[in-house]
Amino acid sequence: MSAPTTTRPPVAGEPAAPGPWSRVLRWSPSGRYLPVIATGVLFLTMFGAGGLRYEGFVDPQNFLSLFLDNAFLIVLAVGMTFVILTGGIDLSVGSVVALSTMIAATTLEAGWSVPAAMVAVLVVATSLGLLMGVLVQHLQIQPFIATLAGLFLARGICFMISAESVPISNPEFLELSFTPIALPGGYFIRWSVVIALVVVSVAVWVLARTRFGRTVYAVGSNEGSAVLMGLAVARTKVAVYAISGFCAGVGGILFTLYTPSGNSLHAVGMELDAIAAVVIGGTLLTGGRGLVIGSVLGVLVLGTIKSFIVFENLNSWWTRIVVGVLVLVFVVIQRLLTRRRT
């Protein structure tokens, strides 16, 4: 799945004349895909090392459970990728996930149907994202601060709805949550994985193949040039925050499917995981370069680290330390790569 999609964007970027020179020329821009390839290699190495070390680590079901346990994070990382590609950042996603679980749980308990509850979640999450986008673009508040306000706002609304955990007992929702989808070979996934993969595919397509997607890259590379080129910069920048909000809403729904309850304290600090996944996935934090697939690989690396920690019987705090070190390594590599380029 990942191999063809990783190679597609460079090809799309340069239809290029055939011949021996095109290969030579292609080498230098491929540096921008190096981080993604590095992440892929890192993931495969870690997974392989786990396989050598532990019985049952490379079991396909263990691979699938990386998706099962991290479906919400994949979706969050996809939304975060859009924002970071424009050079922004969205700190509010963790709180929006918590708010989504609260809205889903309370509306379902109030007797709403499952689709109605989901629509409510998505509308609220997207509007919050839109609001932050407007603050960032039209009132020129730094992304960091505007989304910080969003973080407080969403968490505050959560606590206003209920300070206690709200369980979900809607049978339809629980069925959606727990029904396995059988795959050949006795393996299974759940609907959350399907939704996450659909989001990923749509995001890959949008970024690589649509005018909007190319504008996102243009804005991140050089906003001034993008404005002068007559691209819809303002609309695009507002839209990426709305997309991130939408993804946080979807992520919230997936999180609710994962732990069927609404709780104001869900997903504290999850924005850090999402940002870490994007960074590990090789997206440049200054914007303009990066791939959705990289972020997905970043999430898989995070997931693999977590299962390593579990298999090693180490304390859970090692996860944070290792993730921090990985982020550091990738940021320094990015820095060296950009320094070489300029």
Binding site: I89, W317, R335
Partner: protein, 364 residues
């Protein structure tokens, strides 16, 4: 203009809450930027007084001052400490997201040392523990400063590394346990009084006074502002931008470490998972309320102190009015947005189209 507007503010606030008196600099510092935070603080206090006429009462008991206002200034100390350090970092056009994690690490180091020492209650143990904690805080500040000024990583990202892994390190140091200590000297850091005022607040004021003295009585403050306004130009002008940035992060680390110690002393324990959580956000909020621009450059330490007092008063007000404490976040969000809108050039332009535009056009 500014003199008459500032006059009623001290009248509304009693001496203990009024911003730290700095008479010689007063005329300069109380220029228009400080009027708004002071006014906001006065409004909050007025709301409290309206709800509870005894709110401002302060009584002297056993040589200590007691009262809601004293509680507020005591509770404001950790955020104030962190925010003072953050002000200098923000002035260099940076940001330090790792302060909460640094606070947790410093507190863990001190508490683990004290809990493991044979003489747990001795004053010397506390002093050594605090010294070790501050040394670690310096190291962490050096690390952040190294990533930002030498490697040249964006400040948000460079300090994100420590934000992500710092809590893990703190858990590692305290072995994931909530470490409790019984040490009177250490406890005094939070609950003790000196000169009738809480030690924690006096500590924060001392750090403020030191920072203000060093930055405003020497050229340091101006150089830091120069770095924040234009790092490249200041470097070309012979300012050692790299060293200054580095110093700012180290100072911020020390402030965060002190704040961690105060928080830990307040409960006589350290919970590495939750100590100082979101304090970076409160600190940044205090800095922004105080009128320091996040874009770097001009900074106001006095404004930051007022901002920290404002946040502490806000938390107190929300609980005393009878709104659940959790709503704090909601109010903070509204304050962030309101303050940012006031600072945003675009929003200001919309609010008063007439005044700035001719001047700006002339400048161009």
């Amino acid at each position: 203009m500014s003199a008459p507007t500032t006059e009623p503010v001290p009248a509304a606030t009693p001496p203990p809450v009024a911003p730290p008196p700095v008479p010689p600099q007063r005329a300069r510092l109380l220029a228009s930027p400080l009027v708004w935070p002071l006014l906001a603080l006065a409004v909050l206090l007025a709301v409290n007084v309206a709800g509870n006429p005894d709110f401002l009462d302060v009584r002297l008991q056993d040589g200590h001052l007691f009262g809601s206002v004293i509680d507020i200034i005591r509770n404001s100390a950790p955020v104030m400490l962190v925010a003072i350090g953050m002000t200098l970092v923000i002035a260099t056009r940076g940001i330090d997201l790792s302060v909460g994690a640094v606070a947790a690490i410093a507190a863990s180091v001190a508490c683990v040392h004290m809990a493991g020492s044979p003489q747990e209650g001795a004053a010397a143990t506390a002093v050594l523990g605090i010294a070790m904690a501050l040394a670690v805080a310096v190291l962490l500040g050096l690390w952040n400063g190294f990533l930002v000024s030498v490697i040249g990583i964006q400040p948000i990202i460079a300090t994100l590394v420590l934000l992500v892994s710092g809590r893990g390190l703190a858990m590692l140091i305290s072995d994931g346990q909530i470490t409790t200590v019984t040490n009177a000297t250490f406890e005094g850091l939070a609950s003790g009084f000196v000169l009738t005022l809480p030690i924690a607040f006096v500590l924060a004021l001392a750090v403020y006074a030191l920072a203000a003295l060093v930055t405003r009585r020497t050229a340091l403050g101006m150089l830091i502002e120069a770095v924040g306004i234009n790092p490249e130009a200041s470097r070309l002008a012979g300012v050692r931008a790299r060293t200054l940035t580095w110093i700012a992060y180290v100072f911020c680390g020390v402030c965060a470490g002190l704040a961690g110690l105060v928080i830990a002393a307040n409960t006589n324990s350290v919970n590495a998972n939750s100590l100082g959580q979101w304090i970076e956000l409160d600190a940044i909020l205090a800095v922004v309320i105080g009128g320091t621009s996040l874009a770097g450059g001009r900074f106001s330490l006095t404004g930051t102190v007022i901002g920290a007092l404002f946040i502490a008063t806000l938390s107190r007000t929300i609980t005393s009015i009878g709104i659940p404490a959790e709503a704090n976040y909601l109010f903070k969000a509204l304050v962030v947005i309101a303050v940012c809108l006031l600072q945003s050039p675009r929003a200001r332009a919309v609010l008063r189209v007439r005044r700035p535009s001719p001047a700006r056009k002339a400048a161009r």
